[in-house]
Symmetry: D2
Subunit: 351 residues, 4 copies
């Protein structure tokens, strides 16, 4: 058998299951048999044609699987080993990687994001993992596929938002939007010692999940003005760190307005259209503000650490997998996920 099923981007509006050859691998690659994967918000952007990829590309960048083959330059692993790889698969050996910017591997923006972007991805029976030596991470015994399914992207990105905000013990943090990434940012903020976590969303179910993950105060923006509540909660001072987890002018701007002078906006959203900077919110450039954007950190050490978090029980994200689909039914999964039907947070896809 040398062919496999895979979810392929055909054209804007159309992702379908096709038969494709099982990938060949080079000396620094590995071939994984995918056991579980999921759909990301970015995949929906691809589906809609909002984020352009080449027609014919296999989509997906969140693999849990089993090693099927290893390139001859890859060592320390064995066939049959259960592993994950991050959505971002840096080489670890180029100038940006060695300079601390591994998500920007190769020196072009987002260069570390290859799976389901510049090369075929993992919504398939098999996937080729590039730079395998830097990216394959064994799953600890006792953790299920679903328990580690958030590590490759959602958890790494969300936690990355908290980390880039340099959250400190006793910080007050506001997080705008509580989709999967925003929820992970909430969990990450708690994990780093924020003691007053204020989250904003328009869906009460998501606010409920946020509470379980660490939010102290929840704001449904349809019912309350977030900036008014934040001002009250901080006696007018503003928050130390605001995390943007949606990618709109409004949330970006609200983050800046929520900050205290000297505060940090940690941005996770993917913006489109126009983004303007509210000058009054940053004291015309004199407020000692920091705005930092973060692409999902990858690499095997990152994945190891995230699985340590899962194994420790500090954070339990299993409630985020709300629906399960077979790979064959992935079109239906996209349908559900892209319309946020039925309270969906994340779906698990099994080939």
């Amino acid at each position: 058998m040398s062919s496999m099923k895979a979810a392929v981007f055909v054209e804007p509006g159309r992702i379908e299951i096709q038969q494709r050859p099982i990938p060949d691998i080079g000396p620094t690659d590995a071939l994984l048999r995918v056991t579980t994967t999921t759909i990301c918000g970015t995949d929906v952007h691809i589906l809609k044609g909002e984020y352009p990829v080449k027609p014919g590309l296999i989509i997906g960048h969140e693999p849990v699987g089993v090693i099927e083959k290893l390139g001859n330059a890859v060592s320390g692993y064995h066939i049959g080993q259960r592993v994950i790889a991050g959505a971002i698969t840096p080489c670890g050996q180029c100038h940006p990687c060695l300079d601390g910017h591994s998500s920007q591997c190769g020196g072009h923006a987002m260069g570390g994001w290859q799976l389901g972007n510049s090369i075929d991805g993992c919504q398939a029976e098999y996937v080729r993992i590039p730079n395998a030596q830097a990216n394959l991470t064994p799953v600890p015994d006792g953790l299920s596929d679903e328990q580690v399914l958030m590590c490759p992207d959602i958890m790494s990105t969300g936690f990355g938002g908290a980390e880039s905000g340099h959250i400190r013990i006793g910080d007050t943090v506001a997080i705008f939007a509580q989709g999967p990434i925003g929820l992970c940012a909430t969990a990450g903020a708690k994990l780093m010692g924020a003691t007053r976590i204020i989250v904003v969303d328009g869906v009460n179910e998501r606010l409920e999940v946020a509470k379980r993950l660490g939010a102290d105060i929840t704001i449904n923006f349809k019912e309350q003005d977030p900036l008014v509540v934040i001002r009250e909660q901080t006696q007018g001072a503003g928050v130390d760190v605001a995390i943007e987890a949606l990618g709109t002018q409004q949330t970006f701007e609200s983050c800046l307005r929520a900050l205290k002078p000297g505060g940090t906006l940690s941005s996770l959203g993917v913006y489109s259209g126009k983004l303007s900077m509210p000058l009054d919110a940053i004291a015309a450039g004199l407020g000692d503000h920091t705005i930092v954007t973060t692409l999902c950190p990858g690499g095997k050490e990152r994945m190891r650490r995230l699985m340590e978090v899962v194994a420790s029980g500090r954070v339990d994200l299993t409630a985020m997998v709300t629906h399960r689909f077979k790979l064959d039914d992935i079109v239906a999964a996209y349908e559900l996920f892209s319309h946020q039907r039925d309270g969906v947070l994340k779906v698990a896809i099994t080939p």
Copy 2:
């Protein structure tokens, strides 16, 4: 004698010398007899009514002087001692100060900037320095007034731009605009170990000064496209840090376009009107970029360090004082400085 001459903001377009009472001081203040001061670009914004202050305010925030009186809660200084204070005079004792944001003293944006902003300033024969214990800094013997005249604002701000950019040994840095603050950012970038400093301005004389202060490559934007030159100079990679020292859409945007993925825009400019974020330049929020704004750091330890830099001979900014005026003639000085006539960089004002 209980009155003094002072430069007073009367209304937009009009600053004039008036007779004013010599200031009273409280327990935590000091009274300085000003020996030298200067005019800042911000003062020009005040003059033009672009930055609003209360009519009747004495302008100026860069004092070199001699201690005339000390509040009873101030110790460790003596009458007659020659000192400077920073443009920013933080208290050191409020929550933001103790949290590392002393320029935002008191918790409102720019709260540390009092002189010539929220209280009377130093373009006068005498000035009251608030929070004197945290701000009076003795001038080392052997340094002239003019040698330390850049410390309170220009040098602290420009260096701050380099520091907020976290410049490292071997960095390539681009600095947009080479007015007094941009020139100090150039000197600061060199001082921190940047090895390829690319500066951009439209005035060749300023580019010449920049070379003497550390610029490796100078670009007159009227003759060359800065982004093309920067791309060549970095083999397409972009710069590690870009410093914005003007406050316009164009320079802000050029900074972002000049950066490598993962790079830092350190912003010193004061923006007005609208500022929009070029999304393509930041990979729609996925390029791991940092944007940081910096208000002039103050306090006596900062001033001490800057005077150490001057005393060490590492940086020589005396060439920046191009013109000298008596306080009585300050209206002429504003006239010259605000129109950037006669190659002016900074003026020295002596009462």
Copy 3:
């Protein structure tokens, strides 16, 4: 009434209750009526003559109280307000304070520690707080004296150990000794995102408390070799951060031996006698190790943050107050505490 009761160090081995004048205050001071205080391990060192202070000194540096008087240079507080101050009372206005080393206020080692060290302390009915503007911190409504009693020293120090170790999400941390400070370091490590916290002590009761505060693995060194267990737990890699919370050659050395190459030893202990560096444990100086020592951070922003932690419920240290005494009975409290009788962790003293 102008006299008060106070616990006075008379000579090594003898602390006693004496009548003393209620302190006068200067312009930058406040007078507190103490409502609750406690005894620190350092006070025991003073009692035993191991840490020298002047005979006649009032001991104690962990005050909870009510403002009785305010100096004329202190503003923003009112008589009758319930506050705490840290064990360390920095001025916020000297060079070391403004340079980020406020515990070393004034420029001499431990300069920020004044209460019960260089000036009279708070095991008394009243205490003068120096640099009140930088140090008085209102206690949030709803928090009892005992709930905030650990903030001035124990919690600030223990958390400081975690912070100085720069603990990151997913770190493995070993903490040697689980007295009050070690226990707070355990809580701090958890609060910062450590996911495998290994604690070592010889008293099972303390190990039990450690578990409740966040320890994942407890080692009674009388039963197991800590380094063997740590090696197993980390597959031979060693820990990212080791925290020393006792001050002995053995714990210091074990910390270094527990570290992975590149790891950080965060030291909280007070050492006496001789301390030698095990060269094999640091690869003769080539292992990229960091050793950092931390004195209890103080100042009102620090205290505010710690009380935020308490108020958030993230950490519950009330179980640490195991015994309660009247100030009149403080000699008995010292007797109990210094001999670690009856499972004592911390005592509450009320005048």
Copy 4:
């Protein structure tokens, strides 16, 4: 021709030129034809048997050369390209490398140091470079072999000492010992903005070189007590950062005694015998001191940055090459270098 000349460690006291096979390479390796190399102080420790390596090992870890062969997993280079590699050749793909500790590659202490330590080195006509993708760095046109000869070790280590000390603009820095590494630490301290650099050595010629590289104050410890001079120079405050560049009890201890409270000892020395910590110098563990040890940073991005420093002219280390030898005469070179005869700083060896 398949054999080459190489300097081989035979037994303590004896390094000799032998004929050896030209190395084979694997998929991730490169073969360099060495054009210039040098002898390091560590090599002298090997010669003397003080640092143990396997008899039969080819010594040397500072290669300048030309690519002769490339493994099939290495891309982006071409045969005949002129390159350097660092003394430390990290893989960039293991957990420690991806966690920011690349000199400790593989997870054992000093694991990144392979050349002339765990595998054959470069005092030979040819050398195999492991992890070539992460380590080969093209030499910019216009730079000679000798100009970049210090990059692989001496410059990277010395600068690393300044960097690990987190030197800031306006710092006062003391550097103990001005051998090649100490001299590079001096240059690095200046490059990072230290404005008062105090260096200590017993050889006046070295102190003269130090002056040219940035030292402001030189102390011959045979003529003056360094701690007395440092105290005077800092008005009793002590230095911000002290760099140890020798590896003895005395210099380690002097560094600690020279520091201000809150200061950092950045240690580069290789210690032997016993090392004890002077408790009075660190306030018994309460002085907020940091001690950090640094092994030479490697990898191609590091090498690129160091060559940028050379190319920029900011630092000129060519005066450090005081003697030149043919590989055939390397025994004589060791003789000269190990006895520090004839004012030798570094030797250039050409096959």
